[in-house]
Structure formats: C-alpha cells, structure tokens
C-alpha cells in the first residue's frame, strides 16, 4: 500500500469500488423493494434507506467494506409496528413507524456515542441464532402466499404458516390465468434462486441471482404487455407502484403517539434488532476483509444512527449493516468505503432512469426472493449444526425460536436469555457460581515481562453474562502478538465464549499472531464440537473420562505425528517415579494426562495435575513437565531460578552452589545437591553457558532422568516446542561428555 499518498491510492482503487458498488446495487434494488413490501411499507422506503445508508455511512462510518441499507431482521419488527400502530390503516401506521424509526436512529447514535457496542455481547449466541431463525420463518410465512399470488392473507406468523396448505389448495382448485402466471413467476423464481449457486459460470454469476429474477420477470411482463397485447395481466395489487414525483410525495412522520407505551415498545424492538443485526454483520464482514482491518464498531453505530434518522425523515426504513450485500461487495473486489457510496449512487440512477421498468416488477418475483432469504435465515441445517454443538444448545435455539414466533421479538430474546441462564444453572447444578461472581471482575491480562507474551487468566466462570469483560481485554492485544488464554482457574465456559474465542483465534492467525487457549483440557465437554460448553470436571467422574479433544490437545496430537511419538490424551495414574523427585516431596500427584512419549521412551512430555496442602488449604495445580532419560549416570541435583523452591531446599540443609567464574549463572540460578564435588565437575563451562543462554526452566536430576518444568501452569504449544528443543540440545551436550 502506498502510504505516502493515500489520495492517489484512493483514486487508483476507485474503478474497482465503482464496479463493486454497481454489482451490489443490482442486488440492493430488488432486496430494498422486497424488504419494504414485506414490511407493508411503500416499496420506495427500502430504496431510500439504502441510499441514505450508502451516502452517510460511507462518509461517517467506521467500517471498511460493509454495505448498509434495509435489513432482513427488521422486516418483522417494522411490519408489526406498522400493522400494530396503524390499527387497520397501514399508511397511518407507516407514518407512526417513521417516527419510531427516527427515534431509533437517535438511540442508535447514543449507543455508539456512549460506546455501548460491547453490550451486544450480552446476548447468548444460540439465542440470537434462534431469534434470526424466527425472523426467517416470519418472512417466509408471509411471503409464501404472495409468491403464489395471494396478497391478502392476514394474521400472525403462526396463522400464516397454517394457511400455506390452504393457499396451495385454492391455487390448484381455482386456477385463474392471473393466479397461474403469478404463481408461475414466483415458483420458478424460487427454484432459480435455489439452483443459482450450482451454476458455475463466471459471466452468469456476475449478475446476482435476485437481479436475474427481477430482469427476467420484467421481461415476462413486457412480453405480455407488448407482444401479447394484454396490459395489466397482473392486477395492481401484484405489481410495484412508485410515487410519481419522489420529492413532492415525501411522507410526514407522525410523532403524535410518541408517549404511548405501544410506540415506545416498537421503537425499542426496532432499535434492538437494528443494533444486533448491524453488529453481527460488521463482525462477519471484518472476517472477510482481505486487508484484515478492524472496524470501529461504535463509530459505525453512530453513522448508522444518523443515516437511520435521515432515512426516516425521507420516508425510508431503518439503515443497518447487511451481511449478504456486504459479502457480494467483498467478492467483487471492493477495498474501501466508497463502494457503499457508489451502491447508493447507482440506486439513485436506477430510480430516476428506470422508474417505469421498476414498476413492471411483479410482486411474486420479489416474494420469491424474500422466501429464499427467509429460508436461508431459518434453514433446518442451522438446527442440526447447533444440535451437534450440544443438546442444550438445541433446546435454547428452539425455545427462542418458538417464543419469538408466539409472542414478540423482544419477549422471545428475553426468554432465550433466561433459558440459556437456566441451562447453565442446571449444568452446574447450582447458580451460586453465577450469582456470586457475576458482577465481579474476573479477567487478568498482562504482558509477561520475561517472555513478551500476553497472558490472560480467567477466573470463576466465563459465559455470555461476562464475556464482554474478557473481550475488552482481548481487544487490547494486538493480533500480531502471542496471547495465552488460561482457563485453569475457570470452572465453566459456555458456547458463546468458545465461539467468540474462535473468532479471536482466527483473527490472530490471520495477522501472524498466536492465540492459544490453555487450561481447558480437563473441562468436561458433552460433544466433540470445538464450541461445546466446557465445565470443570469433578474429581469423581475422572474414571469415566470421555472428553472431546480441545484445540490444544489436537495441536499436541499433531505435534506427536510430526515427531512420530505416541500421544495419549487420557489421564493415567502411573506416576510412581515422579514422587522420587524432590519437587514432589511436598506435593500430591493426582494424575498425568496429555502424555507425549518418544518411541525410544527417552522423552516423556505430560501435563500433570497435582496439589499442595490439604483440606481448606488445598491448592490444585496443573503444569506441563518433560522427563528425559540421560545417556549415562549424572549427579543428583536441582537447578532452579533463584526463587520459589529455594527456601524449601535451604531449610532441608542444602546450599546454593555458586561458581566464582560464572557470576551471572550463580546469580540467576539456584543449584543444589548432596554431592557438591561431583556437581561442580559436572557443570562444565559449556553446560553453564548452555543454561545461561536459554530460558530458565526448573530442572531436576535424579541420576537417571531429568525433570524439566517451565512455569507452574500448563505450557502452550509454543512453549512445549521450546522445551523440547531445549531438552534435545541439553541431551546432545550430555552425550558428548
């Protein structure tokens, strides 16, 4: 990238972004019209939202590749606002809703202003998925009728779902010409949309599927119009109508209901969904960004708020960040925010130049696009995927889905949160863990001054309730660094967190950093899925140990295949020789797990669970050890950094052995053993230099084997590799002796 002249760079990138903006506008046009119709707003409202969003957010926003406009998720809430507040008069309802939209824009701005973007982490990810699925079902249920040519099926989502067979029956029993044409266009469009992804032709794929549907159906209508000379083959209720003069017909938002609880409720749920949909999309788009930039979420929220306010005043819908259009944008080579601006520009051109053609779009074609969108939101695959993560996740998903369908969106998501909480309490068999520690800080992050790694330790529990605290710390770590997340003090980690951490792990590896999660190996997981809930194991269930491998364990496994060593993740209680070491004199070894052994049995790497003290003073510890067999007998000694162990050893009458020739070594290391003379001759200059030039490990020899430990915690894969390299070099030196 040419940093010295960003403007030149920008100009150079302009053609790419104009092209991408054009392609996006092709999909934004049908979606904008369709989403507005689905919300019972005038079709132009969706286009206004896209234009306002494209212009404002591209100038004021904080993200790079996102496209903004009317969102899928909002269809249901705006629909219920228009129908609910209109009380029969849809246009009046629309005017009230515009006021609610303007207000929600203000709220969105405030959200961004007070940097409350992080609050969206408070929603459990499965409950959110359930909510999105419910929105999908809602869109599908309503639009299925329109797709078949029936525009006046009323009622809530459940009713409309039940009436679908009825509509099909009516169609088959009474096939008027108009209905056959309408349903034909609708059904063929739907089939095309499902098949589109299968067609692998780059020229054909250049135009997005919805645009193909729109163009073809306009063609069909023109064919009837001009060739068969049957104008108005489809009734006006099945066609799009745009206002004659856009400027003159601006609607006036009606603020007269502003204090009614009805209005406030609708405003809040519109805002809620707008925030959730935008943030989910921004996060998802950041993962697609080839330049790996990080979006400024709060700045984007502020821009979306302003855009929504403007859109509302002009009669448009809410402006949110939309994932489908954004991903089209990325795929077509956009690399900065101007693409969003050009998408808006092309929409203006379309509306001004092709108003007549747009009015030839039959509604069943748009409805087919919406049915497809709804299906993609509510696809049964989602449920299967979630079921694989865990049965309890499926329960949360279904509860939220059903609750949202039966009541309202806000009630649904609240019930989803409560269900998640209940599931967590049941899994832990008590809520004390959560109630006692919820509001307390639980995350420690610091830059380890010895290694330069970022170390993050999480205490008590980590779930959607307090994930934002962990996230705040993780966000402060540059993704090009090495981060170690330690869950060994944490008893419970939920799916939302596991999924969130996976995102971090991806963004770290994308930017050349390391993101390692340690201390989860003895947490129990119900399924093999990497995002499954993990709960600290009670001691008793260790016998029927059946856990799925954690990421670290998988990495260990990989390491074992590279080295051609044996890897055994299960705990073993064969540790008799360990107790011979001085180190375990005052400790209690529980079990060894994650054993990694070389073929000739010279190297044995393992994690060890051991404890110190007893009863109330009991401290449970887990550390990684490496045990190596030495070629010939060496003196018994202990080598440590000048710290922890030294006092114990001094108490037992052993003294630090210092070397006058090597003041640095003597200062940094504590060396002790019974046979001082043989130890002194064993520690040659070469060996001392070796220890001086490597990271200080705890090292203990019992004559035949050497025990090596890095830190009093589990070592990350990187640290393990360092340890192995250290041991190999050490062995080489010992062999030469």
């Amino acid at each position: 990238m040419n940093k010295s002249n960003p403007f030149k760079q920008f100009l150079g990138d302009l053609p790419k972004n104009i092209f991408s903006g054009f392609v996006v506008s092709l999909i934004a046009l049908p979606l904008g019209l369709g989403l507005a119709i689905a919300s019972e707003a005038p079709p132009i409202a969706g286009i206004i939202a896209a234009i306002a969003g494209g212009v404002v957010v591209s100038i004021l926003g904080g993200s790079n590749l996102t496209i903004t406009g009317p969102g899928n998720g909002l269809v249901i809430v705006i629909l219920s606002a228009i129908v609910g507040m209109g009380e029969g008069d849809l246009y009046q309802g629309y005017l009230f809703t515009l006021a609610a939209i303007i207000l929600s824009g203000l709220l969105l701005f405030i959200f961004g202003f007070f940097r409350l973007g992080a609050l969206s982490e408070f929603f459990p990810s499965t409950a959110l998925q359930g909510m999105l699925a419910a929105i999908g079902v809602g869109i599908l249920a309503k639009q299925f009728h329109v797709m078949l040519g029936f525009t006046n099926v009323k009622g809530n989502t459940i009713n409309q779902l039940i009436l679908i067979p009825n509509s099909i029956k009516t169609l088959l029993a009474n096939p008027s010409n108009e209905l056959v044409l309408a349903s034909g266009i609708g059904i063929l469009s739907l089939c095309f949309l499902f098949l589109y992804a299968r067609i692998r032709n780059s020229v054909f794929q250049l135009i997005p599927a919805p645009m193909w549907v729109v163009i073809t159906s306009i063609g069909v209508i023109y064919y009837y119009d001009l060739v068969l000379k049957t104008p108005e083959v489809l009734g006006p209720s099945l066609m799009i109508t745009l206002p004659e003069d856009l400027m003159a017909s601006l609607p006036r938002p009606d603020f007269s209901k502003i204090l009614s609880s009805d209005f406030i409720g609708h405003t809040l749920s519109i805002t809620l969904v707008a925030v959730i949909e935008s943030l989910l999309s921004i996060k998802a788009v950041d993962k697609l960004d080839p330049l790996k930039r990080r979006s400024n979420i709060n700045k984007d929220l502020r821009a979306l708020g302003i855009a929504t306010g403007i859109s509302g005043f002009l009669g448009g819908l809410n402006v949110v960040t939309v994932i489908a259009r954004s991903s089209v944008n990325v795929n077509n080579g956009a690399n900065n925010r101007s693409a969003n601006f050009f998408h808006a520009t092309f929409l203006v051109i379309f509306i001004l130049l092709f108003a007549e053609q747009i009015q030839k779009i039959p509604l069943p074609a748009l409805a087919a696009i919406l049915v497809y969108t709804g299906y993609r939101l509510a696809t049964p695959e989602n449920l299967f995927r979630i079921y694989k993560i865990g049965k309890e996740q499926a329960i949360i998903f279904v509860t939220t889905l059903v609750a949202t369908l039966l009541t309202s969106l806000t009630t649904g998501i609240i019930l989803g949160i409560l269900t998640t909480l209940l599931v967590h309490v049941i899994l832990n068999k008590s809520g004390v863990l959560f109630s006692r520690n919820w509001l307390k800080p639980n995350v420690l992050m610091y830059l380890e001054e010895e290694t330069g790694n970022y170390y993050v330790s999480v205490k008590n529990f980590c779930s959607f309730l307090n994930f934002f605290k962990l996230k705040a710390k993780l966000d402060e770590i540059p993704p090009s660094e090495h981060a170690i997340i330690d869950f060994s003090l944490c008893e419970f980690v939920d799916h939302t967190v596991m999924e969130g951490l996976n995102d971090y792990s991806r963004s770290f590896s994308r930017q050349g950093g390391f993101f390692e999660i340690i201390g989860l190996d003895v947490h129990e997981a119900k399924t093999e899925h990497p995002f499954a809930i993990r709960k600290s194991l009670p001691d008793s269930s260790l016998l029927n140990f059946e856990i799925s491998l954690t990421k670290r364990q998988k990495l260990l496994q990989k390491l074992s295949t590279i080295l051609n060593w044996e890897y055994l993740p299960d705990p073993v209680s064969n540790y008799a020789d360990l107790e011979k070491f001085f180190y375990f004199k005052t400790k209690w070894v529980n079990y060894r797990y994650n054993n990694l052994e070389s073929k000739n049995k010279d190297f044995l790497l393992f994690d060890l669970s051991y404890s110190e003290g007893a009863f109330i003073a009991k401290e449970d510890l887990k550390s990684t050890f490496l045990q190596i067999k030495v070629p010939k007998k060496i003196p018994v000694f202990t080598l440590d950094k000048e710290n922890f162990m030294t006092t114990i050893l001094q108490l037992s009458g052993l003294q630090d052995i210092d070397f006058k020739k090597h003041p640095d070594f003597s200062k940094r290391f504590y060396l002790s053993g019974e046979n001082i003379k043989s130890i002194r001759s064993f520690f040659t200059d070469k060996l001392i230099f070796f220890f001086e030039s490597h990271p200080p490990y705890y090292l203990e020899s019992n004559g035949e084997t050497i025990l090596i430990r890095s830190k009093e915690r589990l070592a990350s894969i990187q640290e393990i590799k360092q340890m192995l390299a250290f041991a190999e070099e050490l062995l080489k030196i010992l062999e030469k002796k």
Binding site: P441, V443, Y446, L447, E449, S457, P478, L489, N643, T647
Partner: protein, 287 residues
C-alpha cells in the same frame, strides 16, 4: 536495617479448630520479627479455656519470652481495635479464612472489618498451619501513592525476616490512564504505544523506590516488576493467585469514605477473595 519493624504483635484468637495453627503461626511470626506477642481473646475467661490455651502455647517448638495474654469482653471488633490502641501494637495477626466455607467466611468477615478500622498493619493468614509453610514469593503493590514507598520497604523487610527469596512488584495501572479507547487498528496501535510508555514510566518509578532502599534489605532478594493494566486492587489479587504467591503486601486504604462502603474498590476486592496471605501495611500510627 529497616526503619520499619513489627516489635509488638497482637493476636486475636478464638477457640476454633484453627486455634493451634493460629498460635503456632503467631509464635513463629514473633520469632521472625523478634517481637513481643500480645494475645487477646474476646470472651469470658474460664479455667478450661485458659488451660487449653496455655497447653497449646507450651506444646509449640518455638517459644517466645515476651508473651502476654488478655481476656476482654465486648463486641469483638471494637474490643480488638481498642486493644490494639491500648497496647500500641505494630501488627495485628488474624487467622482469616478463605471464603468457601460459610462459617469460616463469618470469621473472615471479622478479620476484614478489623482491617478497615485498624490503625496499624494487619496480617491475614488464610491458611494457618501447625507445620511451617515456607514463604517463598511475595507480591507487593507498587502503585503510585505516597504510602507505596513504605509498603515496598516493609515487603523487603518481611521477605528478609521470613526468608523469602523473590518479590514481584506489581504496578497496577488504571485503564483510564491509557486514555485511548481501542476501537480499530489505529487506536489499538496508539493504545499499545501509550501503554508501553506508561509501563516504562511506572517501572522506572518502582525500580527507583527499590534502589533507594538500603542494600542490606535488597541484596539477597530477587525482585522483578510487572505492570498490569486493569482494575486496581483486583488485578494484583488475581496475579498473586496466578503466580501462586505466598504473601501479598498491600497499602492500607487511603481513606474510607462513606461511599466506599457501597462501592467495591481497591483493597476491598482482595479482602473479599483473599487469594493468599495478605499483609496490609499501615504505618500512620507510628509517625
């Protein structure tokens, strides 16, 4: 040597299962600090209790010449605080307990209340033991406060007395000091640079404090610094747990205003969780 010394140590004791451990620990501490011991029990003196107490004291392998025992009646906290003033003690030793157990938690809460009101240093032992558990690693706060210098000095004094070889000086730096909110790549870079600068400043400040201490105190001790950006008073406790420190040395709360009762801050986080033995340094009484 140091200007700080714990010459007179008061021990509040109760007839709990931990009595023996507490007495043994107290005798050991008095031995380390070469101090005088004042045992105070809040409750009525009965011959049985008295003989039990004397029996335990007599059974200890470490004995102290200067022991006095006082029996007082009244509200435990007020009485102990009053006694600490009456006897002009330098250190109150309390066997606090970890919070898992409800009954123990109650005892712990007494210890916490005393900590808040005492005018002298307080040592809370979360795991008093009959056998000696060596103290190897001390974590001490190094945040920017006028009291910190004395606290660090005290930590080195204690390390020498107890034979601990390692001291970690932890500078907790409030996140508000970074003053850059991380939103995107640019602000992250700025925040990282700013933190690096703050870290260096803080380290220089803390190292300076240590280097000004008499070498007798620092010579035998391997000391390191660690900066942590995080909630003050919380991070250091969590850190002490992660590095498995044996003793945490903290400044006393500077001023406990009315609001502090409701807002958990600074030392309160540590008192609520007691990650390890905690020594709270308060030297106002001496000045």
């Amino acid at each position: 040597m140091s200007t700080i010394a714990f010459k007179k140590i008061m021990v509040g004791f109760a007839f709990s299962p931990n009595l023996k451990a507490n007495i043994y620990e107290a005798l050991r501490m008095a031995d380390y600090f070469r101090g005088e011991l004042v045992f105070v029990h809040v409750g009525i003196k009965t011959p049985e209790k008295d003989s039990l107490f004397n029996q335990i004291v007599a059974s200890s392998p470490i004995q102290s010449q200067k022991i006095s025992v006082h029996w007082r009646v009244g509200d435990p906290i007020k009485t102990l605080i009053q006694a600490s003033k009456d006897f002009c003690v330098d250190l109150i030793l309390l066997g606090a307990l970890k919070r898992e157990n409800v009954l123990k938690f109650y005892l712990g809460s007494i210890a916490r209340k005393i900590t808040r009101k005492a005018k002298c240093s307080v040592l809370l032992l979360i795991k008093p033991s009959v056998e000696r558990q060596p103290c190897q690693h001390i974590v001490v706060n190094g945040f920017d406060s006028p009291q910190t210098k004395l606290t660090i000095e005290a930590a080195f004094m204690v390390a020498n007395a107890l034979g601990a070889k390692k001291i970690s000086l932890v500078e907790e730096i409030s996140r508000s000091k970074v003053a850059v909110a991380v939103d995107d790549d640019r602000s992250l870079r700025r925040a990282t640079l700013r933190k690096e600068k703050l870290r260096r400043q803080e380290q220089t400040r803390v190292k300076d404090v240590v280097q000004k201490l008499p070498t007798v105190l620092t010579a035998d001790i391997n000391w390191t610094t660690q900066s942590i950006f995080g909630k003050r008073g919380y991070s250091i406790g969590h850190f002490a747990k992660v590095v498995r420190a044996d003793l945490l040395v903290m400044n006393a709360q500077e001023n406990l205003s009315f609001i502090d009762r409701f807002v958990t801050r600074d030392i309160e986080h540590i008192l609520a969780e007691l990650p390890t033995d905690v020594l709270i340094i308060n030297l106002k009484g001496n000045e």
